[in-house]
Amino acid sequence: MAYSRRAVTAVFLSSIAVAMIAISVAGCGASNSGASSTDKSAVGASVANAAEAQAPTANTGPVELLNVACDPTRELWQAINEQFTKQYEHDTGRKVTIKQSHGGSSSQARAVNDGLEADVVTLAMWPDTDLIRRSGLIAEGWEKRLPENSLPYYSTIVFVVRKGNPKQIHDWSDIVKPGVQIVTPNPKTSGNGKLSFLAAWGSVVTRGGTEDQAKELVTKLYQQTPVLDTAARAATITFSKKNIGDVHLAWENEAQQEVKESGGELELVYPPVSIRAEPHVAWVDENVKRHGTADVAQAYLEFLYSPRAQLIIVQNFYRPNSQGDREKYADKFPPIKLFTITNVSKNWDDAIARFFNDGALFDQIFEKK
């Protein structure tokens, strides 16, 4: 009996020691470790090993890139990757394989910070890319490294309505008419959600309205929203498949896709003004340095501005943003007056603090009830 009790004590003490070591390790990385850090970094580590194995042969042998992208861009990147790998092998003789990782934009940013070894990030919103800059993985001034502020394409928020537009929705003030139900994701968890909120807000303040009027509009908007889905695609399903609501506030590319797939049941409505949605692209400095993929990563992102890539971008309903192609495809996209984040707020950080943080404007809408 005695020996087994000693064994129990020994094992128990050693497991406590293990626990304490783990805690101290966790403590060191505490500044950028989230709740999901363990599994994320495990995934990241395996990707890292694969990439590092190739580092010595950099500049000649086959190379692999990991593009960490936001959720609804699968088709876009699939088409672009196919073209780029062909082009790159043709130009340099090097074989490049591009791996994709898709997920909610801000969780993707967190995953990269927690150790997902992204060579390039193509996320939906500026704050997500900038979050990676804050952790030191992306260099300061990253927006200036590529043409057009690192924006090879852009988009906006538009309306999707039911066939024949029965509620006569044409402008932002129409979506809050009595009896109109709105579908759009939760601004707290979704980029689409934040952009919808800011678009509605900006539709008032950029056209001479006061902030009080803007507040009234967004208050009604969320009171008339029966469901706050957590992400863009879920909101699309709620509107198009479950027939909830009269108007869906969505990314233009998502809306185009949604209307195309509805077989005539849904229509697109362009409001006169909306927000410019800016999905920036960037290479992740620290990671490409370690993988020896800096040149490929840069070539990959520069390729996005080429006519071939811009055509794919247009085919996927994003607005092309290279100098030549902006005008070339102008007729494909109805004119719409787009304002940027700086028209409604000082910058993104300011907008998030003012509208979406705890106790900020969005929370106040729900507290009033």
């Binding site: 064994a7 094992v11 497991s15 403590g27 470790s33 801000s106 706050l228 479950k242 507290e367």
Partner: protein, 270 residues
């Protein structure tokens, strides 16, 4: 002490290491992260009106669904054990389906059924019954998720119950109801409580299905796990872990209480 198999030291070591690495370390990390906040900030993060209503919703919806699940589970287990009928085997294996099904699928299916143009919704919504994007929807889907636990907890006990006690009760002049209430139910009670506890615990942690059937409105239909995700999206890691910790402590307290109940019921009746 059981000496049939050697290796007590080995098996116990594995047990403790397993518990240490898979349970204690993650929980300690959680505690550590939340501890960075300091008492005032911790309290401010975990006791907002939004958080309170999320805890209340999570625990009340889980409790109600676990209660429904326990009743349904007893009924289903009874039918499966006590009677012979065609397709019994099929139904028996169907009971486990919610365990294998990704819960997001369950959530999508439930909300599709209960929306206005869904198979059930088209009849229920005109009556004012909203089986999705409401608190009722959350309870419905949690009941689905928890059912296997309740059935599987009761079923083996029912199977091993000899009929002599029942027969004796009937011979001694007890009515069917008395037999059930005084003889069968006390025997089943510990198993029922276990089933309740399992499905209750399962419901508290459930996220995947609930986000699809809930309208996720703060202060109304936002469950606590959803609040945690929402905090993470805002990069408030410490706050998210603080809320997780509160949820954990509350769950642990309730499960411990249920455990005590279960033990008591065993002592009194068996």
């Amino acid at each position: 002490m059981n000496r049939t198999l050697p290796g007590f030291r080995l098996t116990l070591s594995i047990t403790l290491i397993y518990l240490g690495v898979l349970l204690v370390v993650p929980l300690a990390a959680c505690l550590f992260k939340a501890a960075q906040l300091g008492p005032a900030a911790f309290w401010a993060a975990v006791w907002t009106s939004r958080a309170r209503s999320a805890y209340f919703l999570t625990f009340s919806a889980s409790f109600i669904s676990a209660a429904i699940t326990s009743l349904l589970g007893l009924l289903i287990a009874w039918v499966l054990v006590r009677y012979e009928w065609p397709l019994k085997r099929v139904v028996d294996s169907l009971v486990d389906l919610p365990l294998a099904l990704p819960t997001a699928v369950a959530g999508l299916a439930y909300s599709a059924l209960y929306v206005e143009n869904g198979w059930f919704g088209r009849f229920l919504v005109p009556l004012g019954i909203h089986g999705t994007y409401s608190r009722l929807g959350i309870v419905l889907v949690l009941t689905f998720i928890g059912l296997p636990f309740a059935v599987r907890a009761v079923q083996p006990v029912l199977e091993s119950m000899e009929s002599d006690a029942e027969e004796a009760a009937l011979l001694l002049g007890a009515s069917r109801w008395q037999t059930f209430w005084r003889v069968i139910l006390p025997t089943l009670k510990p198993a029922l409580i276990t089933g309740f506890a399992l499905s209750f615990a399962r419901a508290i942690g459930e996220y995947g299905s609930v986000v699809f059937v809930s309208s996720n409105k703060q202060g109304d239909t936002e469950i606590a796990p959803m609040l945690i995700v929402s905090k993470l999206e805002q990069n408030s890691y410490a706050e998210a872990t603080a809320i997780a910790l509160v949820l954990l402590v509350m769950s642990f307290g309730m499960l411990a209480f249920i455990n005590v109940l279960e033990r008591r019921s065993r002592r009194h009746y068996v």
